[in-house]
Structure formats: structure tokens, C-alpha cells
Symmetry: C2
Subunit: 191 residues, 2 copies
DNA sequence: GCGGGGAGTGATTGACCACTCTCCAGCCAT
DNA sequence: ATGGCTGGAGAGTGGTCAATCACTCCCCGC
């Protein structure tokens, strides 16, 4: 298959990473049940059989993807936070919120996978993975912002609404309800 | 099947209603892609073949279900609102929120279907139905509460978080993050 | 009584899906 | 050079799924 012999073979771990990266797009659209392992393999440029050598079964693949997405989110937030100056809880939360909003905008697939993960939570091991993901996320936000429970809750509520609006591509809808739910400048900064 | 002969045959419309009622539970767990038409038919006590006489295809069935759920929600809210007295926007919203919270608690399947619907929104006609459902919901809340855009947005954000928490059955989790995201007494009731 | 139409089903079909078996190619240490 | 090990693919396998077809039963108007 490879032209001119010499091809740098990638190790299984490298392959697993590529798979996770490309699988995000595959699973984002139709979720855990609606996405076939063949699609995932094709997206990663490998055979379906080899996908099953990298991951024991579909469930494990999806769970690895959830963890990957959670990690990406935290990574992004910490990068954003590093360049912030204030330590006021409310302001830190606002920074994080806009960071998350940015992520949702430019990496739609990532937030879509997390939304899809919620919907596959009837599978016990997936539910466990998703809970774990939220646990890490909440504790990260709590530690970084030192905000009150109520404010943290508000932060996540906003995030969830944002995810749903992304799923429906509400940004492309020109109607009063769409404008109401979208946040033109809805900083909750209490001033 | 029927005892002692004489059985009142239900019309197709009655059947469609039963199907929608029972299909809620079927679709709630594994969503549009993960639920087979056979499961839906069994839940309704009819043959799969007849399901296809009642609805032209799976998509149409699911869309009818979305509309049904939206209608149920609005119905519930208006019933709750009828027994309220205040006309203060914030208080009306609080009433609605607790009404919704009640609905989510005692009819988990309903909110799960709406969550699942978001995740199947990559199907164009489903996306259209979900958008339409939100449009009606937002305009209903707006008209009933006369609240500001920002407050309405907050109302829906809270609802979304509630849906996700229900999907993960966070109520059964005993951990700090779970307590933070759940609203122990987060009535914003200003007393 | 009877004929047409609606309620309802069993059996089927072709596509697809998760997962497996078996095999091949290149690399490296001996 | 060679034997073992890891990366990788072809070709299934049994099962399931959405959708269809051909068929029966029963009611109601005539």
C-alpha cells in the first residue's frame, strides 16, 4: 500500500490517540448507538478489525473518548486561566465560561460528544464514566474559582444550555426564541 | 385474546395515542438510534408491522413523540399556573420551575425523551421538530411570565442542567460534586 | 347475506452491525 | 538468515434492524 517502501510504522498507542481524535467527529453526529465501528475505523484510516485490537469493544472505545474529551476541556480551561489575572470567584467563573464558550464554538464535536454521552448513560459503565467526568469537572472548577455552590451550579447550567443550543445549531435560526436563549452578552457578572 | 368476545376495537387514532404514551418509556433509555421499532411495538402491545401502518416510518414516529412531549409539558405548566396567584415575572418563573422540576421527577421518561431528541438533531427533520418544540416552549414561558430575556434564559438553563442530572441519576450519587449540581433548596423564591 | 374497508398480524428481505478468525508484512535481536 | 513479535488487513459470522407484503378477521352499511 505504501509508496516507495520505507514507511514509519506508528505504535499502537499513537494509533489509539489518532482514533480518539478522529472518533470525536464520528460520534458527535449520531451518538453511541447511531455510530458504527466501521465509521469510526474509516475516520481513523484503519480497518475495523484493527480497531478491535486497539479497543476491546465499542463501549471501551466510547468511554475512552469521554475521558479524552473531559481531559481536553480541563486542559483548555487551565490554559485560559493561566493568562487571567483576577482571583475573584465571579470573575474566574466568567473567564472559564467564555473559555468554554470558545471551545464549544470552535470544537463543536467535543461538546456534542459530551451531550451524546449523557444520552447513552443507560449503559452502566458509560454512566459511570460520565459521572466521573462531571465529578472531575466540578471539582476542577471549584478549586480554580473558589466560588459558591450556587454559582458553580449556575456555571454548569449555562454550559448545558450552550451544549443544547449547539446541537440544534440555534445560531443559524433567526427567531425571537433563538435570540432569547442565545447569550449575546449574558455575562452573569453581578456587577 | 379478549375475554368473552365483544371487544371494543380501538380506532387507529386511539392506537396512535397509546403508542405515543408507551413509546416514551422505550425511547427514553437509548434514544432514537438505540431503540428498535420492535421494542416500541411490543411496549404498545401491537405488532411491529402495524406500527408501520400507524406511522409511515421511524422518524415520523419519533417526531410525533417529540411533539407529544412538548404538549404534555405545556399542559402541565398551564395547569400549575392556573392555581398560582402572583403575576410577578420572577414568581411566575419560580412556579414554572418547580412545576417543571416536579414533572422531571415523576415523569423521568418525558424529560429523557427531550434530551434524546437533542442528540438526534443531526437528522434534519428531527432537528426541525426539536427547534419548533423549543420555540413553542420559550414563547409560552415568555407570554405567561412576561419575564426578561435574561431570566427566561436562566430558566431554561436550569431546566437543561436538571435534565442531564436526571439522565445520570445524580440523585443516587452521594458526593460533593453531585450535591453542588443538585439544587437542595435553590429556590430563588425571594419570599 | 354480503361486500368493502379498516384493524391487525406472520413472515420475509436486504442491509448493516459488533465482533472474530486467520492470515500477511516488516522489524529487530540473536 | 531466521525466528519471534507487533502492526495491520480480508473475509467472514450470527444476529438485528427498518421496512414491506400478503394475508386474515371483523364490523357496518346496504
Amino acid at each position: 500500500m505504501s509508496p516507495s517502501g520505507r514507511r514509519r510504522l506508528s505504535t499502537a498507542d499513537e494509533r489509539r490517540e489518532t482514533v480518539l481524535r478522529t472518533a470525536m467527529h464520528a460520534f458527535a453526529a449520531r451518538g453511541y448507538y447511531g455510530t458504527s465501528t466501521t465509521e469510526v475505523a474509516e475516520a481513523a484510516g484503519i480497518s475495523q478489525a484493527y480497531l478491535y485490537r486497539l479497543f476491546p469493544h465499542k463501549e471501551a472505545l466510547f468511554i475512552a473518548l469521554i475521558n479524552h474529551c473531559g481531559w481536553l476541556m480541563r486542559e483548555r480551561m487551565s490554559r485560559c486561566l493561566a493568562s487571567a489575572e483576577s482571583t475573584d470567584p465571579a470573575e474566574v467563573l466568567t473567564t472559564m465560561a467564555s473559555s468554554f464558550r470558545g471551545l464549544a464554538a470552535e470544537e463543536r464535536d467535543l461538546v456534542m460528544v459530551l451531550l451524546q454521552a449523557n444520552c447513552a448513560a443507560s449503559e452502566p459503565s458509560i454512566r459511570a464514566a460520565v459521572r466521573d467526568c462531571y465529578a472531575k469537572q466540578v471539582e476542577y472548577v471549584r478549586a480554580a474559582s473558589l466560588a459558591s455552590d450556587e454559582r458553580i451550579r449556575g456555571f454548569f447550567a449555562d454550559g448545558m444550555l450552550g451544549n443544547v443550543l449547539a446541537a440544534l445549531d440555534v445560531a443559524a435560526v433567526d427567531a425571537p426564541w433563538a435570540r432569547t436563549l442565545s447569550c449575546p452578552a449574558a455575562d452573569t457578572t453581578p456587577r
